[in-house]
């Protein structure tokens, strides 16, 4: 059913396209035809007028040479045995009486005057259009010289007839071209249409075939595929988070629930349950809830950052003061742990979110200080190699074995030896998400001994 509806609506798009093309085709044909018809008619009319003018001038000449009687004779002769079947002549007296010529009747308005006239002549064969020139003569009579426009009318009828056939042919041809174009477009769109429909229905791995022709359809296909890739990436992220939420939040929640249940039971045996113990238990439960809430909001933040992309419109952030602020924030912790926190920085700027970048530096310093041995040195090195900005934070702690270096970026992954210590297991995930969101990358290296984290971030390009 869906497919049918889809096909119909696809058809209607094709049909509209076909109609539009055919319509345009016809319109241009009609404009061209009308222009031609007008131009040819004009030429015909001019020719006719020229012939009549010459004929009329001839007769007027004769009137001047031979006088009224001579003209009368000439007209009678011409009327009796015409050279041209279509020629008409008449001489009308000053009072409107027909003196010579073949007309039985003449419309009143052609009986005198000095101009061009057109009128219909009625005779046995029907109605014929006459074009004539009126010429006032010296004796007050009016000479009419004209032609029946048989030929012109025949031509015009022919043009009309031919036009009609041509019109039909053009309509047919236009329709055909429209149909073929529409078919071609529909065909090109069909796979795109079909794939997007199936992806929408849940087959997320499908992609539109690209033919690398780089025409509009191919570019559209590439765009859509890139979009689908991004959607897939985000969905995978969500799925990953959901799995881990189920896995890792359930444990502390269970612990919390058990604790509360235990308190309820203990409370029943009131003699053992002092208010001091009660307060301790409640504090522990609150602390556990806080930890859960912190993990949860870190998770939300992480997911949000992962969904963001680097934008050219992000504000410029000066990295040096930011890194030094972070160092200053952590300096007391370092000195309490007997660790020397050593910073080497240069001024450099990048585009992004200052709060997120501060979080990145803080998380890395936090980690380094947590795992560094007493009496060692934690180094922060910020430099710009002309191509990118590098932030390198190194410690001389236990380090991370090479096999685990990729895994520790995953959410909630905490190496066995650190399981017991404080932390959500989201710190490095957040660092990587922030680096990626700024178009950068994070690598973990051996600091022999210890861990060295290398963050590469793109420099701000002036715009």
């Amino acid at each position: 059913m869906n497919r049918l509806i889809a096909l119909l609506s696809a058809r209607s798009t094709s049909a509209r396209l076909a109609l539009a093309i055919a319509g345009l085709f016809l319109l241009s044909y009609l404009l061209l035809g009308a222009g031609m018809y007008y131009a040819v008619s004009q030429i015909f009319a001019q020719d006719l007028h020229e012939v009549i003018r010459l004929d009329s001038a001839d007769l007027v000449e004769m009137y001047h040479d031979s006088g009224h009687a001579g003209l009368m004779t000439e007209i009678s002769e011409r009327t009796a045995s015409p050279d041209d079947d279509n020629a008409v002549y008449a001489l009308v007296g000053p009072h409107g009486r027909l003196l010579a010529g073949q007309f039985a009747t003449l419309p009143d308005y052609v009986r005198n005057g000095d101009n061009w006239v057109e009128f219909d002549e009625r005779n046995a064969s029907g109605v014929v259009r006459v074009v004539a020139k009126l010429q006032k003569l010296g004796d007050g009579s009016t000479l009419l010289t004209g032609r029946r426009s048989h030929n012109q009318e025949r031509f015009e009828a022919l043009v009309r007839r031919t036009s009609l056939f041509a019109l039909l042919a053009a309509a047919g041809l236009g329709g055909l071209i429209g149909w073929i174009t529409a078919r071609w477009v529909a065909h090109r769109l069909e796979s795109t249409y079909d794939i997007t429909r199936r992806v929408g229905a849940g087959e997320l791995a499908l992609r539109i075939p690209e033919d690398d022709s780089d025409d509009s359809f191919d570019r559209l296909a590439k765009r859509i595929n890139a979009m689908l890739d991004r959607i897939q990436e985000l969905l995978d992220g969500v799925r990953h988070v959901t799995d881990h939420i189920a896995h890792d939040l359930r444990t502390p929640l269970t612990r919390l629930r058990n604790r509360l249940e235990e308190m309820r039971t203990e409370h029943g045996r009131a003699e053992q349950f002092t208010s001091e113990l009660f307060a301790t238990e409640l504090d522990a439960a609150t602390a556990e809830t806080d930890q859960l809430l912190a993990t949860f909001s870190a998770l939300l933040r992480l997911t949000r950052i992962e969904a963001q992309t680097a934008g050219a419109n992000d504000p410029e952030v000066a990295m040096q003061p930011l890194a030094l602020d972070a160092v200053e924030l952590y300096a007391p912790i370092a000195s309490e742990g007997g660790i020397v926190l050593d910073a080497q920085t240069v001024p450099c700027t990048l585009r992004g979110d200052a709060d997120q970048l501060f979080q990145l530096v803080a998380n890395l310093l936090d980690n380094a200080l947590k795992y560094a041995m007493r009496g060692t040195r934690v180094t922060l090195h910020l430099y710009d190699d002309g191509d990118a900005i590098f932030l390198i934070i190194g410690d001389h702690g236990a380090g991370i074995p090479a096999v685990d270096r990729e895994r520790v970026f995953d959410r909630f992954v905490r190496l066995e030896e650190h399981r017991g210590s404080q932390g959500s297991g989201l710190g490095l995930s957040l660092v990587r998400a922030i680096a990626h969101r700024h178009g950068g990358s994070v690598a973990l290296e051996d600091n022999s001994p210890g861990l060295r984290v290398r963050v590469r971030l793109p420099r701000a390009v002036a715009n």
Binding site: D325, L329, P332, A354, D355, A362, Q422
Partner: protein
């Protein structure tokens, strides 16, 4: 003080109202934007706690309408949307402070106190802060306790200044991070605690009455009260 709570979740609303009443405030409640806007415009409040996502009229619209009508009551926006962009949007709409759910009551209470206080003292520019026998001169940037000069690092000075401006009120770690370090981020460990203990060394050591107190489950308070 009179405070209006506009919050659609009855649990949260009751929780906040109970706390604020215990703190000695008078509380009115609305559970949707339309009623909230009506109360806010017809009554006079010292502060408004406004949830961002509300039925009928959403929080930011209520806020913009209030500000558009020239109402300058301090507004604390509560939200489950904690992104920087959202925060900026909220502050731009005219919010005085922004608190992300879930929050501890102590955090809300501290921020409300800070808002009410800011309101009262904003008109007077002081050059010297004084809490008990602790003095801080904002011009010479000198700190003294019982007449004895205390050497402070620049950041410690800002920390102390903030604590003294909020004297006798609880300030949370997040408030300190925002006000003194000016970054919105989640510290993994309590870095602030170390800074506070250093400051405490400097101002309280050798004096019989400590001024800088830790408030369990909330944050810190600087003041002469025990």
């Amino acid at each position: 003080m009179r405070i209006l709570i506009v919050e659609d979740d009855p649990h949260t609303a009751t929780f906040i109202a109970k706390g604020l009443t215990e703190d000695g405030h008078t509380v009115d409640q609305a559970d949707n934007g339309r009623d909230g806007l009506f109360l806010a415009t017809t009554e006079t409040y010292n502060a408004i706690i406004l949830d961002r996502m509300l039925p009928a009229v959403d929080g930011l619209t209520v806020l913009r309408t209030l500000r558009g009508a020239g109402n300058a009551t301090p507004v604390l926006v509560l939200t489950a949307l904690g992104d920087v962009d959202h925060r900026v949007e909220g502050l731009r709409a005219g919010a005085d402070d922004y608190l992300v759910k879930p929050f501890a009551y102590a955090e809300l209470s501290a921020r409300i106190d800070s808002l009410l206080r800011r309101r009262q003292s904003s008109s007077v520019e002081t050059t010297e802060l004084r809490v008990g026998d602790l003095e801080l001169n904002l011009l010479t940037r000198e700190a003294r306790r019982a007449g004895k000069t205390i050497e402070l690092q620049p950041r410690e000075f800002r920390l102390l200044e903030y604590l003294m401006r909020q004297a006798e009120r609880v300030v949370t770690r997040t408030m300190l991070l925002e006000a003194v370090w000016d970054y919105h981020f989640d510290p993994q460990t309590n870095v602030i605690d170390v800074h506070i203990s250093r400051l405490r060394q400097k101002i309280d050591r050798g004096h019989p009455k400590p001024l800088l107190h830790t408030v369990r489950g909330a944050g810190y308070r600087l003041g002469v009260r025990e």
